[in-house]
């Protein structure tokens, strides 16, 4: 239980740091701004890592990340179209893009028989490629829009907290808490499936139905998260590995750990991105820059 304490202390440390450290003098207004940003960071990081953990468990594949099933590239496409049409990234269009791609992935995966679970990955990867090339076309056509799309692709927590974004963040918290609690109830099934499909089928788990539920639930919250903060990389891929390294293969323990560690990690990365330069770095750049050496160190241990 030492590890639990360590994770909790790390989390509190990250929160305190993100509230206290920054270029501006701490006053009431700045504190409000930092609290909103910290909440966004905790939930975005938490959701990405949690979904990453679930999907890696379901597919039994350590390279699966929240974006493999196409939600991120769909959101990026929707957001980019928003940049072209309205001149700014629209979270609504981004979410529409994510849902649209989710629907296509589902339809492609259902086209023929066979195991739905395995066809999902292929459909997701194919749709991601399609969306990426469409986004590239928009980027090539754009001028200053390029930056907006780039920050959507790299992830950006420094969004302005205006009325629209405030409502979106509250929605994000409600939807993600509900979905996370709903998905967490399947931890035992996930344990069994990651041990092997035959075992799972033998124990009477309906893998088709189970994959379908997980696909829809994760696509929903990932699409929503990406629409707000962009496709922050690394967190959803590597944090579940770190959680498994620390807490073992049981999803009962490693899923909550993924959530907390994901939030912690994104907060730390965001605090860094805020203080290194007067420029705002996309937080996705920082997550990979500090995450990779940390992961190698941990893996060696």
């Amino acid at each position: 239980m030492n590890k639990t304490l360590f994770v909790v202390i790390l989390f509190i440390l990250a929160v305190v740091l993100s509230l206290l450290v920054g270029p501006a003098q701490l006053n009431n207004q700045i504190l409000q701004l930092r609290i909103s940003r910290a909440v966004l960071g905790i939930f975005a990081g938490g959701i990405l890592a949690f979904c990453g953990g679930i999907l890696q468990g379901l597919f039994g594949n350590p390279l699966v990340e929240p974006y493999t099933l196409g939600a991120a590239s769909g959101a990026a496409l929707g957001g980019s179209i928003g940049v072209l049409v309205f001149g700014t990234v629209s979270p609504f269009l981004a979410f529409l893009g994510a849902s649209g791609v989710g629907f296509f992935v589902y339809t492609i995966a259902r086209l023929e028989g066979g195991l739905f679970r395995d066809r999902l990955i292929l459909a997701g990867v194919v749709m991601s490629f399609l969306c990426s090339s469409l986004v590239m076309i928009i980027m090539v056509m754009g001028g200053k829009e390029l930056y907006e799309i780039l920050y959507l692709l790299m992830g950006y927590l420094g969004i302005i907290i205006n009325t629209t974004n405030r409502i979106l963040i509250i929605f994000l918290i409600i939807i993600s808490l509900a979905t996370v609690i709903f998905l967490y109830r399947f931890h035992r099934e996930l344990d069994i499936i990651s041990q092997g499909m035959e075992t799972a089928a033998g124990l009477g788990i309906d893998i088709q139905k189970f994959s379908l539920i997980i696909f829809f639930a994760t696509s929903l919250i990932i699409g929503f998260t990406v629409s707000i903060v962009g496709a922050i990389g690394f967190v959803g891929l590597i944090i579940p590995h770190i959680a498994r390294l620390l807490f073992g293969p049981k999803h009962l323990y490693n899923l909550p750990a993924s959530f907390i560690l994901g939030g912690t990690f994104l907060l730390l990365a965001d605090t860094l991105s805020r203080i290194i330069t007067v420029y705002e770095l996309p937080v996705g750049v920082v997550t990979s820059l500090i995450g990779v050496p940390f992961f190698i160190y941990l893996y060696k241990k």
């Binding site: 701004l33 405030r166 007067v278």
Partner: protein, 267 residues
């Protein structure tokens, strides 16, 4: 560096002068990949020499009807060549790739890279010479010089300009707007950043607490968390929806931008 650039520019221009002396202006066919230069050529009355522009060249109205060779950063080499230009006006560094190709094909280039308002005057005179509109060029330069005089203010107001809200893009030292703001007696809060269009953090803007906020996009800052205690918001000095072209484009319309800024800074 600046000196070397000036020399290179000078050599290129001399080269161009020679070209234009050899060919008379009747055979002059200009493709302008620079929206500002397109405006200047129109202002000098040389638009009949223009055989191609970019989709960004939207001013004056007639410029929209010229043959388009692509957008600002991705003009099509084939479309340029199809117009058989005797001179291509280019804007480094965004167009470096196309400049390389055009150089290989030995097509004469006019490299437009103004760093300050003084450079714009020089370029106007140069292009005026090429299209044999020296008198018009002189009067345009004089008009701009007379209308872009530095204003001294007792109290210098600080200005924050926002080009985009996600991410927050502003103007730095290397933009014309920075120079225009100091010319009209104000101070850009990010004048210490050496880039032209840096991406900055919200906290940094709040810390620097500008007296005036200028938004060059349709958004507003009324409901932004953390922004309500800014001097600019308290004193209602937030200006929305200005036309970015009159403030950012190094052409004749900077005079309009200057007047707009002058009005804003004296309110």
């Amino acid at each position: 560096m600046r000196c070397i650039r000036a020399i290179i520019l000078f050599l290129i221009t001399i080269n161009l002068f020679n070209c234009s002396k050899k060919n008379n202006t009747k055979s002059l066919r200009i493709v302008s990949l620079s929206p500002a230069m397109t405006e200047i050529i129109f202002a000098l009355g040389g638009e009949h020499y223009l055989v191609g522009t970019t989709t960004f060249c939207t001013y004056p109205e007639a410029a929209k009807k010229t043959y388009k060779v692509g957008d600002f950063s991705h003009p099509s080499l084939e479309r340029i060549l199809a117009q058989k230009p005797s001179l291509v006006v280019v804007n480094p560094p965004e167009q470096n790739h196309i400049i390389r190709e055009l150089k290989k094909l030995k097509i004469p280039l006019f490299i437009s890279q103004p760093r300050c308002i003084e450079d714009i005057y020089k370029e106007i005179s140069e292009i005026g010479h090429i299209i044999k509109k020296e008198d018009q060029a002189d009067s345009l330069v004089n008009f701009m010089k007379n209308n872009l005089k530095p204003i001294k203010k007792d109290k210098i107001k600080t200005v924050y300009v926002e080009l985009s809200s996600r991410p927050l893009i502003t103007v730095g030292q290397k933009s014309f707007l920075n120079e225009l703001i100091s010319l009209t007696g104000g101070k850009n809060i990010f004048t210490d950043i050496k880039k032209a269009y840096p991406i900055v953090t919200q906290e940094e803007i709040i810390r620097r607490n500008p007296d005036i906020v200028i938004l060059l996009h349709p958004g507003n800052i009324k409901d932004r968390l953390g922004w309500q205690k800014l001097e600019a918001v308290k004193r209602k000095q937030v200006y929305k929806n200005l036309n970015p072209d009159i403030l950012l484009r190094p052409g004749p319309r900077l005079v309009q931008g200057y007047n707009k800024l002058k009005k804003i800074l004296s309110e």
